[in-house]
């Protein structure tokens, strides 16, 4: 099978025009190849560029140089560094999901619909989506009285589980997930890991940022370490 993701010499630099043209080098000479069905762990100190790399792949950040090739289910090769916005939106809608550390949702939408609307926008009805969402909330032990409430008022751990549920239900081909288990207890942590491993069985490839050794050990096929914006070592697990 072909490479799902191939990053070549990625460079990211933030130019802050309003701060006297100050520039921040965030990523330099980052290259990596990812097979379909693989889980890659990304580690590194805070500020080493892990989230920047992930956001460059998702195109929330624009790459300053290099290429990020993604091969679609139809075998089309798209470079997220230069692809048209419509192409990126199409891939986001059908094949790639980003699950951030912080919940970013549209206000005044109940938790259950936040999750359900993710699938109903893809291929099923909102009722089917809600049914699926309930199942995932149960597995993640999110208290039932919260399902109809607005996630903006939830605790950190509760928000995180809504976020995870959204990624799980989307069943993307490529999942980018940033600290999925950070504010959770060990039992819930394992429930999240089990769900993500279940996704992998269904064919999802995952790039995972985590500081948690337990999560990394249970999930990652291999680990890449970032230091000052460079990929330093590759530890095969």
């Amino acid at each position: 099978m072909g490479k799902l993701l191939e990053i070549v010499d990625l460079h990211k630099r933030f130019e802050l025009h309003i701060l006297n043209e100050k520039a921040i080098e965030a990523l330099d000479q980052v290259s990596l190849q990812m097979e379909e069905g693989e889980i890659i762990g990304l580690t590194g100190k805070t500020g080493s560029g892990k989230s920047t790399l992930m956001k460059c792949i998702y195109r929330t950040y624009l790459a300053s140089g290099g290429s990020i090739f993604f091969t679609t289910a139809q075998g089309e090769r798209i470079d997220f560094a230069t692809a048209s916005e419509h192409d990126v939106l199409r891939i986001r809608k059908t094949e790639m999901t980003y699950c951030s550390q912080f919940l970013q949702v549209i206000p005044r939408v109940p938790a259950i619909d936040v999750v359900a609307s993710t699938v109903s926008s893809r291929d099923s009805s909102i009722d089917q989506g809600r049914e699926l969402a309930r199942g995932i909330f149960e597995t993640l032990t999110l208290p039932a009285e919260l399902w109809d409430a607005y996630p903006a008022t939830f605790s950190g751990g509760e928000q995180q589980r809504v976020n995870i549920a959204r990624a799980i239900i989307a069943r993307p081909r490529l999942l980018l997930v940033d600290e999925p288990t950070a504010s959770l207890d060990l039992k819930t942590k394992d429930a999240v890991i089990d769900l993500l491993l279940g996704l992998k069985k269904g064919g999802t490839s995952i790039i995972l940022i985590t500081h948690d050794a337990h999560t990394l050990e249970r999930m990652a096929n291999r680990t890449l370490h970032l230091e000052h914006g460079r990929l330093k070592e590759i530890i095969c697990a």
Binding site: I18, T60, P107
Partner: protein, 279 residues
């Protein structure tokens, strides 16, 4: 894929004063002005090009006077363009420049195929008519003449936009600002237009009413799949409603990209200033 657009805008330009192409070479962000130093002509919109896809919501953001309202007003034929090309799929399968249509065909396009919601409800509504009468006006212009049908459709639309149907025979002048805005939205979508233009629709409303109007727009987009152009100086509105955003300054597009990219990794100095000004 690239030919999949609903609306294609190329080089759309509006100049007040002496309209020559070289005015564009002496104005814009590079010169930090939209006033031509030689002729004094003002470039309200210069060389605007973009594509809008079916079902897509495009944001246009920029400060007052950046040309965002002029842009949508030209698309709705409220203002005449100095030059440029606008193709719209429902009109001759996109093969005609709609700016060059006869007045009659422009009216048809506007009444049947587009909806517009203005910042000021007085621009979009006739306060001498009742709320229901305003919706009827739009339906009549689009050739629906059956009074019973008009009445039912009006009730349906006001219900959808949460305006009390009991009050449909009152003038919108008696309504609150938020309600007036919702009547305007009901009127704008009366003919199920494939394209809806929204110009600063939440400015001047208080926060809870803003939220209601935005929820309404988002619901309509999800249920009906209407393509929209959302003009706002409020990045919160842009973030909530749009997938893609154009940033305008001095009548030009200074940056365009995915909305999350514009908000989190703005490239242009002006966009960075705009994002850093966010409360």
């Amino acid at each position: 894929m690239e030919s999949n657009w609903l609306l294609r805008v190329r080089n759309l330009t509006r100049i007040y004063g002496e309209s020559t192409p070289d005015v564009l070479e002496r104005t814009g962000p590079r010169f930090n002005s939209n006033i031509c130093p030689k002729t004094g002509a003002v470039v309200a919109c210069g060389g605007i090009s973009f594509d809008l896809f079916p079902g897509e919501v495009l944001g246009i953001v920029g400060e007052s006077g950046s040309g965002k309202s002029t842009l949508v007003q030209m698309l709705y034929f409220d203002q005449e363009a100095s030059w440029g090309e606008v193709n719209f799929r429902p009109v001759e399968d996109g093969n005609a420049n709609i700016l060059e249509l006869s007045n009659q065909r422009k009216r048809y396009t506007r009444n049947h195929l587009m909806g517009m919601v203005y910042q000021n409800p007085r621009d979009g509504l006739n306060f001498r008519f009742s709320a229901g009468g305003n919706i009827a006006e739009k339906l009549l212009m689009a050739g629906v003449f059956h009074v019973g049908n008009i009445r039912v459709r009006g009730q349906d639309l006001l219900g959808k936009t949460e305006v009390p149907v009991k009050r449909m025979d009152e003038s919108p002048a008696r309504f609150s600002g938020g309600m007036q805005q919702r009547v305007q939205i009901a009127k704008a979508i009366a003919n199920n237009p494939p394209l809806l233009l929204l110009d600063e629709i939440t400015s001047g409303l208080d926060v809870s009413v803003q939220a209601k109007v935005l929820d309404l727009i988002r619901g309509l987009q999800q249920d009906l799949g209407i393509s929209m152009i959302v003009v706002s100086h409020d990045l919160g509105v842009i973030r909530m409603l749009t997938d893609r955003t154009l940033v305008m300054k001095h009548g030009r597009i200074v940056e365009q990209g995915l909305t999350d990219q514009i908000l989190q990794d703005p490239q242009n100095g002006y966009t960075q200033l705009l994002v850093s000004s966010l409360l």
